[in-house]
Symmetry: C2
Subunit: 692 residues, 2 copies
């Protein structure tokens, strides 16, 4: 009777097992837990009559293959990357539309028309951009820059910033749904924590001298008191701070480079006649900003390279208890650093550059030597766009090339060494074993790369509507490179379970919230939209063409005689004033060079815009998040149905057992000649007990 | 052997049962599931030698009594109310400190000193506050009002607004912890949804003609198609909108009352000699604002009374499927309405009153008849304080009296009717049965009351630091009234389970987020702090006493000759200009009466303050919420320990069963003369199967 009970339970479990699972189990037997890895990959490839591209489509089979071949943890990464790429395509289309709008409206915009007009822009003499060596210049020399600037700095910027705010919310909400669906389909609904992740690390156990009772298991456990860990925490905290300070220092160094080089460029280009014909599109500003951005990018890569080594080393020194602790400590370190490293220069260009310049005659000086950077005459936004494009594109190209080349070179080197043995002895499984290991942190770096890219797509998207398109193109390649790399260049990683993307989801949420703020600030402070709108509604004097005269209005006047010694360019001029971008009183006003009313008006408008945009964006985000359920309805229904079925089957099983019990009793009773009716009553009584 | 299995399982369950529970079970048998309700209350009261106050302390026994006597749902309400009151006491102390600071610094503040000074405030002639009938007035007549205003409108306002932002976050986080602890102690960790709440309502089943398959149970179920419900949804949507519009209309009516009465008051007080001595503290403004607030409060109560009836009726018409649906539909309706009803007048006073006044000579008129309301000369904040005090205090007193009197009168009436029967026949259980029923919505109204009060304490707290103290005093009474009411004035309610306060928690979260925004806006726009700071840092001319001259600076000048016909008071004056509160150019400026630079400067500062305060507050909120775990560590450890114990006991049980099985087998084997060692191997094999 005992054996029968076990069998019954087995059939109970099997009946609970979903039918759709059977197909998986079939494939499972095909792909998983076989010895030689390349062989069964080939096997699957042959079976579906496709080459390696089978891994590169986003369809169900691919997901299912990834899961059964690599385990849920790696499969989840591919699902995430696929989903992210899918969602990016919408953003890319809208971004492209915004860009095309800018392209089409380029000729019609009054701002660059006025700048390019020789009777308007050609008559405006601007103050020199650096002390002594730079000369006065006419506004229409920045004609082309102002036209390009319009590409990114137009009305569609605001629209795109709002669109991306909504997109990011939808992305995160739909990802939650997709994740819940995967969790259900992969039978991980009740999966809580990975045992492997919670096991003590051997390094920890070896280093521990103290023991302490675990509150849960009530068993003695190796334990490291806080005071013995504290020095290491301090050390790692100090290291991270130091490296972040180093990033800032490098950024300042690049700024100093730009400042010191700008004067050189300016005077060189001024004097050299051969630069005459390239002058219209290769202004000193553009040259400085391009070379500066490239330098910035190189510095970022170098810092990143060293920090990666150091952070892994420092995390090991902390002796984390479990693998989970190790990974979260490393995540915090790496993410904080990479965030500062990749974004700080963009933050600087977006929110600090050109904001604290002072005014002619009273410029602010960095370390009392270098005059603060002014923005490009075309506006600050175009500089941010340049910076963003170079860093983002550079990072992506470098990342993909590195990911492909690095294991290839290593593997080639190993194989070369191995080949010194006899060719025939070098078997398939030896070749597979000689491949590079993927390691427990391999996936970590993949996620980090994706999340940093997500930051570029969301945080500064108002300045560059083509960012999602760039990211989309990168990801289409990235998925292929990752799949190719994992299947051919790395040893098959040990399968692990995961029902979510873990801490990265929280980081994505944080970025989504931050992006609303950064985009609102970019539109308000980096772009020129708010000053233009204020002019349009409050200061315009022309009723038919309200934007007419904006360029003239946005420039303040400075009396050349007010320049301090040795800062103005030498030589006598036939004009007494020059112009600069700011809202300040003219020299004949009794509060000369103080901020004028329009300055405060524009500032109030900028602040109001930020408040309105943030409140609206967060309200929409909140409503969307509230309306879209975390788990899709059909998945929820199926989960509920399964729970109900479990209860029913368990109940039927117990009922049958009781009935059997009663039958035995009743037969005993019968043999004692008791009336049959008695048994039925007690039977229904039992039943009621169980049902109630 | 089957019976033995059941017994084993029972002992297994019992061993899992926590020891501390036994004390509860003892009391349980004492209090719960007995017939006559007053009797066993008396029994418990006698046992602990205490009177009704036993219910009124917040200690564990009280919670435990509530739970065992009333069930978890009502007990959770008392725990929430007790916790909220505890937390309020901290806010009340800090609020009182801020109030005392205002009281102590009242004499020293330069603002009211300047207003009261006959050589400064006495020389400033203000423009009339209403057309024709009102006269010019001297600023020092509002001396007292400006002093009182300082009580609430000083530096501590900003501090208190920030403090309350943190308080509200801590309150919600600690409440989550308390709730998790209660959930554990009440054995509701695995409790998901109340069956009673998910059952179909009989009204729904009776009305349904259609049937549809339930996706979870796969059984046919009564079902109401959307098209047959849609008209009712529209009706209820329209009703709610209509009533909310009615609230706004009533508010506008009160505004009109204030506007039309103000002129009367002003001219009456001007002419009547008997008012001379009360004039200093009973200005027309204060009289109007006091009577207006009282009128507002009465209107709110009347609207509330009717809406309560209508919303219950309308919700029934919607034929909700389950009790849960019924309750959530009613919650939405009631909360939306009460929110608008109780807070709209405060929102009006805080953010709209006095903001769109226009300026002398070009005032804005409501319906082209009534001149827009100006704020009290002491500032807008004092008006908000008045409004808030009257509505909040009035609501609380009225609520407590109603809660106590209403069931008492009803019960008295029933008992009187019942007494017409013979005295002896009117037994104890009949008396108990004749008590008022608490109903399924009784608790709903209690929560609603608490949440609306929470709104008063958080949303407008920057204007009234004594609000938490008022709420604290009210709640101390409220707990006693509720406990007394439930034990003596109502029939004992049917016990129900609940592991949280449900949807109210989300509403509290929403209010906490909203309160950060409202308080930032109150400090920026309703209080006078920002204009004062701007004057202090940017416009002050006196280096030693930077605030000197602020009053004069904050008032603009108007040329009396510019008043349109029939709006200025008649009679010839010996002055040509009057002053008004705004930042506009003087009449001799070429942009006369337009906003001047200081206006835009102050506006920019206000907007900047809002942005800074909101960002800081939300950052602190986020960090606190992230740092404080939702479930306290000791509770989490105990939950984990229990899970582990369950697994262990189950494992041991299965192991013993298998061992027994094997022993039988082995004895069979022995009888067949097989070697003993064979059995041990298979035993350990079995063990490994279970452990693995």
């Amino acid at each position: 009777s005992k054996n029968k009970y076990s069998k019954e339970r087995l059939s109970l479990y099997l009946s609970l097992y979903r039918v759709s699972h059977i197909t998986r189990v079939l494939a499972f037997s095909l792909a998983r837990n076989k010895g030689a890895r390349t062989t069964d990959l080939v096997c699957i490839q042959n079976q579906s009559s496709l080459d390696g591209t089978i891994l590169l489509t986003f369809d169900l089979f691919s997901t299912f293959f990834h899961r059964n071949y690599f385990g849920e943890k790696i499969a989840m990464y591919f699902v995430f990357l696929g989903f992210y790429t899918e969602m990016l395509s919408f953003a890319a289309i809208v971004g492209l539309a915004c860009f095309i709008y800018g392209l089409l409206s380029m000729d019609g915009n009054s701002n660059s028309t006025e700048i390019c007009d020789p009777t308007i822009g050609g008559q405006i003499i601007m103050c020199p951009l650096c002390d002594q060596v730079c000369d006065y210049w006419r506004l229409n020399t920045t004609c082309l820059a102002s036209k390009i600037s319009h590409l990114f700095d137009n009305e569609s910027t605001v629209f795109f910033a709002i669109f991306m705010g909504i997109w990011v919310t939808l992305f995160l909400e739909f990802w939650k749904q997709r994740q819940a669906r995967m969790e259900y389909e992969w039978d991980l609904v009740d999966f809580e924590e990975e045992q492997q992740q919670l096991q003590l690390r051997p390094e920890f156990e070896a280093m521990c001298k103290h023991r302490k009772m675990n509150a849960v298991t009530k068993e003695m456990e190796p334990y490291m008191p806080l005071w013995s860990r504290l020095p290491w925490y301090f050390l790692s905290g100090a290291t991270v701070t130091l490296w972040m300070a180093l990033v800032i220092a490098c950024m300042v160094a690049v700024i100093v480079y730009r400042l010191s080089v700008f004067a050189t460029f300016a005077s060189f280009m001024e004097s050299e006649a051969s630069f005459k014909h390239v002058k219209s599109f290769l202004t000193p500003q553009i040259t400085t900003s391009l070379t500066g951005s490239c330098l910035n990018f190189i510095v970022i890569l170098i810092l990143n390279f060293f920090y990666e080594k150091i952070s892994a080393w420092i995390t090991k020194m902390e002796i984390p208890r479990t693998y989970q602790e190790y990974e979260s400590s490393l995540t915090l370190k790496m993410f904080l650093f990479q965030f500062v490293n990749f974004y700080s220069s963009c933050f600087y260009v977006a929110f600090f550059k050109g904001k604290f310049v002072g005014y002619p005659g009273k410029y602010t000086y960095l370390f009392n030597v270098w005059r603060s950077e002014e923005c490009d005459p075309g506006g600050c936004l175009i500089e941010l766009t340049t910076q963003l494009t170079i860093i983002m594109t550079g990072k992506q190209i470098f990342g993909n090339v590195k990911e492909a080349i690095y294991p290839m070179v290593l593997n080639w080197w190993r194989r070369r060494k191995a080949r010194t043995n006899s060719e025939k002895l070098y078997s398939r499984w030896e070749q597979d074993h000689d491949l590079e290991t993927f390691g427990s942190l391999g996936l970590f770096y993949e996620y980090l790369e994706t999340v940093i890219q997500f930051g570029f797509v969301t945080l500064f998207v108002a300045s560059f509507p083509l960012a999602p398109l760039l990211a989309l193109l990168n990801n289409i390649i990235e998925i292929r490179v990752d799949a190719w790399k994992l299947t051919t260049q790395y040893r098959r990683p040990v399968a692990a379970k995961a029902h979510s993307i873990g801490v990265w989801q929280d980081i994505l949420y944080g970025m989504a919230v931050l992006s609303v703020a950064t985009n609102a600030f970019i539109v308000a402070f980096t772009s020129d939209i708010i000053p233009r709108l204020v002019y349009y509604y409050a200061y315009s004097t022309d009723a038919t063409e309200p934007m007419k005269g904006y360029v003239n209005d946005s420039l303040s006047t400075f009396l050349i005689a007010d320049f301090p010694n040795h800062t103005a360019p030498s030589g006598k001029r036939d004009f007494v004033t020059c112009r600069y971008r700011d809202y300040r009183y003219p020299p004949d006003h009794d509060q000369k060079y103080f901020h004028n009313m329009q300055y405060w008006h524009v500032l109030a408008a900028k602040m109001t815009f930020i408040i309105v945009m943030e409140h609206v964006a967060f309200l929409v985000k909140f409503l969307l998040a509230w309306m879209i359920p975390d788990v899709p309805k059909d998945v929820l229904d199926r989960i509920k149905r399964e729970k109900l079925m479990t209860i029913k089957i368990l109940h039927d099983f117990e009922l049958n057992k009781l009935k059997e019990n009663l039958r035995i009793n009743s037969s005993e009773l019968k043999s004692a000649h008791w009336p049959e009716i008695k048994v039925n009553t007690s039977h229904s009584l039992y039943e009621r007990c169980i049902l109630g």
